[in-house]
Symmetry: C2
Subunit: 302 residues, 2 copies
């Protein structure tokens, strides 16, 4: 028994196109409809046969759906929800894949009063964007967090859970505010820091851009991957999850100041203690299957 | 014509053991001698046949070497250099692989007056440590920076260049102070930031350690790799390259404060501009062969 028969995906970028491919692979009888605001992306989706039907408007994409997934930047959720409101079937479940949840929940509830809304966040991705960047196994072994609003029906939660598990994900239920705090430290702050240091490195006068690139294997290149992520998506995340991000940033800055002081005063023990402590976390991440155990993330060494 | 016939490696960790394996692969007729301060590492080196001879003291390891490479944490360079001084052949070239160079140059010159000293830094590594972590291809396509002191003989530079090129590296000559500035931004600051954020994440009360680990695929896990690097090595780097690291850290902090302000005031354009700019650097790093072009560094997705 499939949890849904007709799935509509609005936004055919990395995540939307990965869902489409994963549905095709794991639930081949599901009827897939898609829409993207960009006509070029719609044409590409047709060309690569990403979904069964590419609709020209968001409304036309949802008319007979039993699951609608909004895969657009969080700043665009309100407008897209408003654009499907008139055509949304009464029994459809509306979900999304946004990286912040409290703001998205509020936006969807305001735009779609009375609809069954179960926001979701698959914690998976790569630094690439667009309909060609997606792949069917993106969600395998990754967590998808559902943040059902107060009073959400149990049946809808169960069906959406079955859907994501069907795509290979593990599902966790969480309060939207707690989600936003957890993701602020595990995702949003890392992106903010990566964007910052790549910017700092490219603004130096004493060190040329070409030197930064040549010697990036010393550690810098690890930061450039997430600093190559989609700018619109990430602008929206920081604006939408402002309070939690600023809170985590404040703690990080305090810790950085403490390390700065340890370096200035030559306090080797303080440095050594922290550097020893941080090894354990990576070990746990690998043990729990959330990263590659091979050195260098499994990068090729010829 | 091999540049050296008898190579001595002091310190058989990740880098020392990688040099040994690379020499065996690319220059099989070279006689390799090794020493490590840790008796357990020496026993392991014998067991895995890492080098032709494992010596019990640093002095015994260098008696007939024409190239001696010190592969120990930069804080240990002075003591190791002093320990080989009495046994060092007059015509041997002494080099090292330390991540900071001005301090190492001064330490080696003080301990080995009159010796031919050409400090070096192969910009390569993984997060793993010890004699089993090394591999022969670690230096392939990576840069090795030589920082010959003023007045260093051209012949010695040419021979050491040929040695590293023989192991598959590309060689660049640089002033030690400039090296320390370049590496402060491309390697030392990234490590400091990675260690800091992993520490920040593990100290939170509102978010559990288990949540940090579960949802690390949102970006955090990228930082944990370099935060799992050898604690002794990195403590020494920050103490040895204090001025350049503090200078880069200051610039990073200023840039982070500017972003913090942009988030606080909802200045989406400032965020978008930076996030767009940082994409180009990753593209260049990939084009120049300094990182894997595949998404997620080529991590496995089943």
């Amino acid at each position: 028994m499939l949890p849904f028969a007709r799935v509509s995906i609005i936004g055919l970028g990395l995540i939307g196109s990965s869902i489409a491919r994963a549905v095709r692979q794991h639930m081949p009888t599901v009827r897939l409809t898609g829409h993207d605001a960009d006509p070029g992306v719609r044409a590409r989706a047709v060309a690569i046969d990403l979904v069964d039907d590419v609709a020209d408007t968001p409304g036309a994409a949802v008319t007979d759906a039993d699951l609608v997934i909004l895969c657009v930047p969080v700043g665009a959720m309100a407008a897209v929800a408003a654009a499907v409101a008139a055509d949304l079937p009464a029994d459809a479940i509306v979900s999304d894949v946004g990286s912040s949840k409290a703001g998205v929940e509020a936006a969807l509830q305001a735009a779609l009063p009375g609809a069954t809304i179960i926001p979701a966040h698959p914690v998976a991705g790569t630094e690439n964007s667009g309909p060609d960047a997606g792949f069917a196994t993106l969600f395998h072994g990754r967590w998808c967090i559902l943040t059902p609003p107060e009073g959400a029906g149990e049946a809808a939660i169960v069906r959406l859970t079955a859907f994501w598990e069907g795509l290979g994900a593990k599902v966790e239920i969480m309060d939207a505010r707690h989600h936003d705090l957890v993701l602020a430290i595990t995702s949003h702050l890392p992106h903010l820091i990566a964007y910052t240091i790549v910017g700092t490195a490219s603004d130096l006068e004493e060190v040329t851009q070409s030197e930064v690139i040549k010697y990036s294997a010393g550690g810098f290149r690890d930061f450039t991957r997430i600093a190559a992520s989609d700018p619109t998506m990430w602008r929206d995340v920081f604006l939408a999850n402002k309070d939690a991000v600023l809170e985590m940033l404040q703690r990080f800055s305090e810790d950085l100041t403490a390390l700065q002081r340890a370096i200035r005063w030559g306090d080797g023990d303080a440095l050594f203690d922290l550097f020893t402590r941080t090894r354990a976390i990576r070990r746990s991440i690998i043990e729990q299957g959330q990263d590659d155990a091979r050195p260098d993330f499994g990068r090729s060494h010829e």
